[in-house]
């Protein structure tokens, strides 16, 4: 039984609510900017920055800071590893839902 419960297939890096949200938004578009992520996920700048850092550290997102019209803008993209990790999380959640229904 031990390793077979579906929650054991969940990776804390991806499962955490805000990080799951970031990867979900990035599953719908090639990139998203910091402000859009912050407003969509309803988090503070600091909170979003911290979770982006965790995802970047795991190799799941790439962060690009640049100037557009003389203003700083931060773009975030999912890496191939990030898309894989997100797909695995969704599969584990589906297994969990099937099990409890």
């Amino acid at each position: 039984m031990t390793s077979h419960h579906p929650v054991n297939g969940l990776d804390d890096v991806v499962h955490q609510r805000v990080r799951l949200g970031i990867l979900a938004v990035l599953a719908e578009s090639t990139r998203a900017d910091f402000t859009f992520l912050r407003d969509t996920l309803d988090v503070t700048d600091g909170n979003l920055a911290r979770h982006l850092q965790t995802l970047e550290g795991a190799g799941f997102v790439e962060i690009e800071k640049r100037f557009e019209r003389r203003r700083p803008r931060t773009w975030v993209r999912a890496t191939a590893a990030g898309r894989d990790a997100f797909a695995k999380e969704i599969a584990a959640l589906e297994a969990l839902i099937r099990r409890v229904q």
Copy 2:
């Protein structure tokens, strides 16, 4: 957009991986004992105890310690509020999965 992303419907108390696992196990049976939860979710005693305390503090589980055959045994049950919170989490996860597929 802000409040409409499905991850905004996830409650951190319930969403956290180990706590989600506890409530998932309790969705399948009226009660579970500490050892069974620990082995099923593959966590340490201390980790499980901490997450049970969080769920108990939120009113989502009831914990009963008693002696059976002169040995201490800890039983855990989901409360009605715990079952409701788990059902809401599952519904939010289903909405998230529908959205990204």
